[in-house]
């Protein structure tokens, strides 16, 4: 049974189509990165997964339990970190941990104490006196300490400093080792690249690409950077070549499929240096969005 399974999940707000027939499967023990620009439908997906909003069509299930019809049963194995860390302003961090643990029904207090140290949370501080990043840390500690089978994290590192982001990555790795499933909605590409097994890319309420990072790179696309001694030749018409950018005597381009035509075209040119590398997640991401209006509602 998958940790998350949605079937043709659709949500409309009035005339806005926020999510359009989403079919998503996240298997147990997987760290799944859910990418998309602002307004693509990431938060809408999470609200439907948690049964906070009602699907207009289709269904969402957590561990086989319908998220809208049986939210209480579905949430027994779930911990959630909200994008806006509101919490309860009048409670201290320690009181927040106690409250959430009682409502959740389980917590690993030894691990929680370790996380309090790691994230440098001040337990006696009232939430209202905390900055956004510090409130985010309180949420993260509570969620990871719950040892829930599935963690749903909505942009969990917005507001965290780089040190805390490292602590977050380490904690995700520990959860993965323990077999917990993580659904990570984000637009922090480096973070997703660093921690996720699989990635789904959402655009205007539709999943436009999905797979492991290697699959997303489509294996056969590479970035080439070529330095020439003199004037660079025009390579834009060579088969398989796209996205040619010139910077002085250097060309930046992408090659899809067999590069032999490009190599032949370079034979007569005065090449000084040549670097090739695979596409970064950022380049994949931009591929899906460049020239398109990514508007919608989150």
């Amino acid at each position: 049974m998958d940790a998350i399974e949605t079937r043709s999940l659709t949500k409309r707000y009035g005339r806005t189509l926020a999510l359009d027939g989403l079919d998503l499967r996240v298997t147990r023990g997987e760290v799944y990165g859910y990418l998309g620009p602002n307004g693509a439908g990431k938060t809408t997906t999470i609200r439907l997964l948690l049964g906070l909003h009602r699907p207009t069509g289709g269904s969402a299930a957590l561990f086989g339990v319908d998220a809208w019809r049986e939210p209480v049963a579905a949430h027994r194995h779930v911990a959630y970190v909200a994008g806006e860390p509101t919490l309860w302003p009048g409670l201290t961090s320690a009181e927040t941990f106690a409250y959430l643990a009682r409502l959740h029904g389980s917590t690993d207090s030894a691990y929680r104490d370790e996380l309090i140290q790691r994230f440098r949370v001040e337990p006696d501080k009232k939430v209202r006196a905390l900055s956004k990043g510090n409130r985010q840390k309180v949420q993260l500690v509570a969620a990871f300490a719950s040892r829930a089978d599935l963690l749903i994290l909505d942009e969990p590192t917005s507001g965290l400093d780089p040190l805390m982001e490292m602590a977050f990555r380490r904690t995700v790795a520990e959860a993965k080792e323990r077999g917990q499933t993580i659904f990570l909605s984000s637009h922090e590409l480096s973070e997703v690249e660093a921690v996720c097994d699989r990635v789904g890319i959402l655009r205007r309420g539709r999943l436009v690409d999905e797979g492991t990072l290697a699959e997303l790179r489509h294996l056969d696309t590479q970035t080439w950077e070529i330095d020439f001694a003199g004037e660079p030749p025009d390579l834009s018409r060579v088969r398989g070549v796209s996205d040619v950018e010139r910077n002085g005597s250097t060309l930046h381009l992408e090659v899809t499929g067999d590069p032999s035509d490009l190599i032949a075209a370079l034979a007569g040119a005065d090449v000084v240096a040549l670097h090739t590398r695979e596409l970064s997640l950022e380049e994949i991401f931009l591929h899906h969005y460049e020239g398109s209006d990514a508007g919608g509602r989150s």
Partner: protein, 529 residues
């Protein structure tokens, strides 16, 4: 200047629902009172009889203040409308000030405005200007309806100025408490204490012999002393104008000196963990609402005590036969016995208890708007259970408040030898519960169906019902229309028998509405602010 006027326009637009609701309420009261008085007491003799009885009654003064002329339509309006509108004005001023001086800051919008290069004083005074424009709307509403009710224009303008003058002081007071407190809720609670204190001082000044000086200590007393339509004293307007200006200026200075997002008086930011009442969302709601409940309990008990002390104010000889007939129209068996008087006053506790219920519905809505409910429902917490348990909590606290009113009214009455037994007064308290719960359930239904508008709908339903109850009989409308207000179905215990049928019907309706609220809430999307 462009930025400041943009801020002012924004602030004015923000308050438009509140201002228009209050304007409608004031307009209705301002029109119905003179029109109703003219109809109910057409001759000078009728009015003289009314003046002899009601005009000298301490207990009536408790609610409306001291009348200065009850023989003319204007004099009656100045007393009845003026006294009530002064209280509305105080509440409106407080709400308006806390809105611009604190709520904007809590929401982080103030930082955006300040960050865009507009100075703090400019933002502050632009908001004050917008609030004064809102006050002008209220004044215009009252002047227009007074003119429509055939009262002289000049005197109507003075009535509006006098009765709305407390708003100036409470705008200033609201600005000041917004500087002290580090959050909207605390600011509103402090402000409510000030409004209550102003009201109590006016009550003491009006009803306690030898304590008339107390009237000079409260803006509500100043408004009363201006005596519109009787012996107008316009120079007294200097008092609210000067006090309001000083308070507004003091708050402006304080606002410019403190950190944005903080208060001058901060609660402790750190404390050792207190783990009581953290076992469930309902327990936490009880824990967070404890301070507010305590304030309501204290205020209600105090007012009940005063009412108990005044229960012997009516005597048979000061109620003429004609008025007794009129009072029967009100459904009150007899005001001349302490029990009858208490029964009449307990109608105001029905109002108080209902408003408390509205505040609780508003708090539940705030939990949703602020995102806490989203966190709860992402846990193994069911929606129906959450709302159901919350309504049970509201029911219990509402009942506690109502019974406290009964208990303290008894303490007051017993100390005057009024001869009303404790069980009868506890019954009077309990008698507030069905109508109160009906309003709570209506508010819950609004929360489920139209969440963003729920607090406004809940308060509007209660206030409109109450104003209808006050004026419908004066207007001589058919009893079926009078009966639209739940207040019309409350038996005036202990003076009149408990109306079990009506109470059961209200409780049944409340249960049905609460059930519908839970069912509708279970099916809707959560909605942020």
């Amino acid at each position: 200047m462009g930025a400041a006027s943009a801020v002012a326009r924004r602030a004015f637009a923000d308050g438009r629902t509140r201002t228009l609701s209050f304007a409608a309420l004031i307009a209705f009261l301002g029109y119905a009172s003179p029109a109703g008085y003219r109809q109910a007491y057409p001759t000078v003799a009728d009015r003289a009889a009314f003046a002899r009885s009601f005009g000298t009654n301490k207990a009536v003064e408790l609610f409306y203040g001291t009348p200065h002329d009850l023989l003319s339509v204007g004099g009656f309006t100045g007393w009845r409308v003026g006294g009530t509108v002064a209280i509305f004005a105080a509440v409106w001023g407080l709400l308006a000030a806390v809105r611009f001086a604190r709520t904007e800051e809590d929401a982080g919008r103030q930082e955006l405005v300040l960050g865009a290069g507009t100075g703090r004083r400019a933002v502050y005074f632009a908001s004050v200007a917008a609030t004064l424009a809102g006050l002008a709307v209220l004044a215009a509403a009252l002047v227009l309806v007074s003119a429509a009710a055939r009262l002289p224009l000049g005197a109507s303008v003075f009535l509006a100025a006098a009765s709305l003058s407390p708003a100036l002081v409470f705008v200033g007071a609201g600005c000041c408490v917004s500087q002290l407190a580090a959050g909207r809720r605390v600011a509103l609670e402090l402000g409510t204490v000030l409004v209550l204190a102003a009201y109590l001082l006016r009550v003491v000044g009006d009803v306690a012999g030898g304590a008339r000086f107390a009237l000079w200590l409260t803006p509500l007393g100043w408004a009363e002393q201006m005596r519109p339509f009787a012996q107008p004293r316009p120079w007294l307007l200097v008092l609210p104008l000067a006090t309001g200006a000083v308070l507004i200026a003091v708050a402006a200075e304080a606002s410019a000196r403190r950190d944005v997002g903080r208060g001058l008086v901060e609660g402790r930011d750190e404390s050792p963990p207190r783990l009581a009442l953290l076992g469930s969302p309902t327990a936490l709601a009880a824990r967070s609402g404890l301070g507010t409940f305590g304030a309501w309990l204290g205020g209600t008990s105090l007012l009940a005590l005063v009412i108990g002390l005044l229960s012997t104010a009516f005597t048979p000889e000061n109620i003429p036969a004609q008025l007794r007939r009129d009072l029967r129209k009100l459904g009150s068996a007899s005001l001349t016995s302490p029990g009858g008087a208490l029964g009449f006053y307990f109608l105001f506790f029905v109002l108080g208890v209902s408003l408390f219920g509205c505040a609780q519905i508003a708090a539940a809505r705030r939990d949703e708007a602020d995102g806490q409910l989203e966190l709860l429902l992402a846990l193994p917490v069911g929606r129906m259970r959450w709302l159901g348990a919350r309504l049970v909590l509201i029911t219990c606290s509402t009942a506690a408040l109502a019974l406290a009113a009964g208990l303290f009214a008894w303490v007051g009455a017993a100390s005057r030898g009024a001869g009303v037994a404790l069980p009868r007064l506890l019954e009077a308290g309990a008698n507030c519960i069905p109508a109160g719960l009906l309003f709570v359930a209506a508010g819950a239904l609004a929360f489920a169906a139209v969440p963003r508008a729920a607090p406004a709908v809940a308060y509007a339903f209660v206030l409109a019902s109450f104003v209808w109850e006050l004026v419908a009989d004066l207007l001589g409308v058919p009893s079926s229309l009078v009966g639209l207000s739940p207040f019309a179905h409350v038996g005036l215990v202990p003076g009149a028998p408990f109306r079990a049928g009506a109470a059961a019907a209200m409780l049944g309706l409340a249960a049905a509405a609460a059930g519908a609220a839970i069912a509708v809430f279970a099916r809707r999307d959560l909605q942020g602010a």
